[in-house]
């Protein structure tokens, strides 16, 4: 791979051990995907909850944090994905002091590197959305698919270590979605049933993601008649990325790179129908009407201020069932606005709890479930019900409205 003189100096160790590690990491990954060189990136976003990093990951970053300032500070704006522990509310959830301490250590190490602890997976709604053509190094699949598809930015899935490497060097290997040819459609889907509420969009994303089934497939979707809101597009993308490991989609006439199907080279592809039956069959796998529900979760992705308002509206004048918990995850920045708008109070009056800067599935979900005796979980997030099956839960899916009604009834309505 061809390196700029600055990256060569980093590789030679002239700019410290952290940057040397970072370029070596990028060379290994770049070689695997035949990258010709590195591309400059404007921002990095790192997923690094303590359940994923474990002690080993925390120590790695602490090692960098111990270096002199000029060797350890990131060189581009770098922000973080949700944390695993809300340090204001962990004991009641069944999280341990050890988990909280690991979190505290990791936060301190990140701050020493100059990373801003935004703790959010909706930075494209709350911080600085990337611009079309903007090369970035984002973690969290939901962030990447939204930024690529809706914003027209250019990012691969950058796991925590690679996002960190990008922050330390200001570059990432130029392969995959940084290249025009990888952004062209490879699968063509025709929708004839319009999604309406958030979960409809999530289910559509899940069905397409499942069928596309690989990081290297790019779905183009025809037949969407209304422009989705940012929250709807968020659920569509998050689910598609979760079920298909899909990092980019196009919607004809809606997303920026796809005014017509020819723009993404999709005209010659065979059209695959997404039928009402496909969508209903998928929902059927997460249906559990009438069953007792242990916990209702709104997360994955974290809620925007608009979603917080909608949850609050459904909660007003009602109370949750004594045997059913309600958790809502949102970034701290949204929490402040939601508090002043009265949304947090409405959710808490219902008996729910709003967690700041976390996302449920990244919070030691297995341990939380065991500590609280939770197995039947209900959510409006098509993404979270996919993930939590491996964590010992029996997840079920319903609309936001039905989730709140179920929390009130103690059973899935």
């Amino acid at each position: 791979m061809k390196l700029a003189p600055e990256a060569e100096a980093m590789l030679a160790g002239e700019m410290g051990a952290a940057r040397k590690w970072a370029v070596e990491h990028q060379l290994q990954v770049g070689r695997m995907f035949d990258a010709r060189d590195l591309v400059e990136v404007s921002q990095a976003h790192m997923m690094a909850d303590p359940e994923s990093t474990g002690e080993a990951g925390v120590r790695l970053v602490e090692g960098f944090a111990a270096l002199p300032a000029e060797e350890r500070r990131v060189v581009i704006p770098m922000i973080t994905d949700p944390r695993g522990v809300d340090l204001d509310y962990y004991d009641p959830l069944g999280q341990t002091e050890d988990m909280a301490n690991m979190e505290r250590r990791f936060i301190a190490a990140c701050q020493s590197l100059g990373i801003t602890m935004t703790n959010t997976c909706i930075n494209y709604q709350t911080i600085m959305p990337p611009v079309r053509g903007d090369h970035v190094a984002y973690g969290d699949t939901g962030v990447v698919i939204y930024s690529n598809s809706i914003c027209g930015a250019r990012s691969n899935f950058e796991g925590g270590p690679s996002a960190l490497a990008a922050g330390l060097t200001g570059y990432t290997p130029r392969y995959g979605l940084h290249l025009d040819e990888s952004r062209r459609a490879t699968r063509r889907f025709k929708v004839n049933r319009q999604p309406r509420e958030l979960t409809d969009w999530g289910v559509l994303g899940a069905v397409i993601g499942k069928r596309a089934g690989s990081y290297w497939e790019v779905p183009v979707i025809e037949g969407i008649e209304t422009v989705p809101t940012s929250d709807q597009a968020k659920h569509l993308g998050a689910a598609m990325a979760s079920y298909g490991s899909t990092p980019l989609f196009h919607i004809v006439g809606i997303t920026p790179e796809c005014e017509t199907i020819d723009d993404v080279g999709g005209a010659g592809l065979p059209a695959e129908e997404v039928s009402k039956e496909d969508l209903n069959d998928f929902r059927g796998t997460f249906g559990a009407a009438g069953e007792k529900v242990d916990v209702v979760v709104f997360a994955a992705p974290q809620l925007s201020l608009i979603e917080m308002g909608a949850v609050a509206e459904h909660c007003r004048g009602r109370k949750r069932h004594a045997d059913t918990a309600l958790l809502v995850c949102t970034p701290a920045s949204v929490y402040v606005d939601a508090k002043s708008a009265g949304y947090v109070d409405a959710i808490e009056d219902f008996g729910g709890r709003v967690l700041q800067g976390t996302c449920f599935y990244q919070q030691f979900a297995r341990e939380i479930g065991e500590a609280n005796g939770w197995t039947r979980l209900l959510s409006n997030s098509t993404k979270i019900v996919n993930i939590l099956g491996g964590y010992g839960y029996r997840p079920a899916l319903a609309s936001m409205e039905d989730c709140i009604a179920s929390a009130e009834a103690g059973r899935i309505v």
Binding site: Q28, M32, M47, G159, P161, S214, S245, G389, G390
Partner: protein, 140 residues
């Protein structure tokens, strides 16, 4: 007679071990009990089976970015697969293998690797040249 499979240049050190094969996908977060060292997702083709020190042969990556940290974390505790062979890795698996110094190869010339290698085969992987050798092929 050993059988050699050519693939794309991969990541990590040379490795040798016993294959555990399924036509299914892989995510450390979605599919594994990383403490117990077994596949925990009930729907996974390898549910209940131990992946520790095995050469895992699967179709592709699925899900999110957590696997990039998790391979490193798993390896630090010694409860990890020895290598990953896939038809198609995604960026996250490559990044995780790079951090963990774990052997990873994909894109096999002869077709579907989950058909070419059988569970129980003894396999040697040379990622730096993109070569996987089945030492005792059941189907030579």
């Amino acid at each position: 007679m050993a059988k050699v499979l050519n693939c794309h240049v991969g990541i990590g050190p040379r490795a040798e071990g016993e294959a555990l094969v399924a036509n299914d996908n892989f995510s450390a977060r979605y599919d594994l009990d990383r403490i117990g060292g077994v596949f925990s997702r009930p729907e996974h083709a390898l549910a209940g089976q131990s992946y520790v020190d095995r050469i895992l042969v699967l179709n592709t990556a699925k899900g999110g970015v957590a696997t990039a940290w998790m391979l490193y974390e798993m390896k630090s505790r010694g409860i990890a697969p020895k290598a990953l062979l896939l038809n198609s890795a995604n960026t996250i698996l490559a990044q995780g293998a790079a951090l963990a110094d774990m052997t990873l190869c994909d894109r096999f010339d002869a077709g579907d690797v989950t058909q070419l290698i059988k569970t129980g085969d003894r396999v040697k992987v040379a990622p730096e040249v993109g070569e996987v050798t089945i030492l005792n092929p059941s189907d030579p």
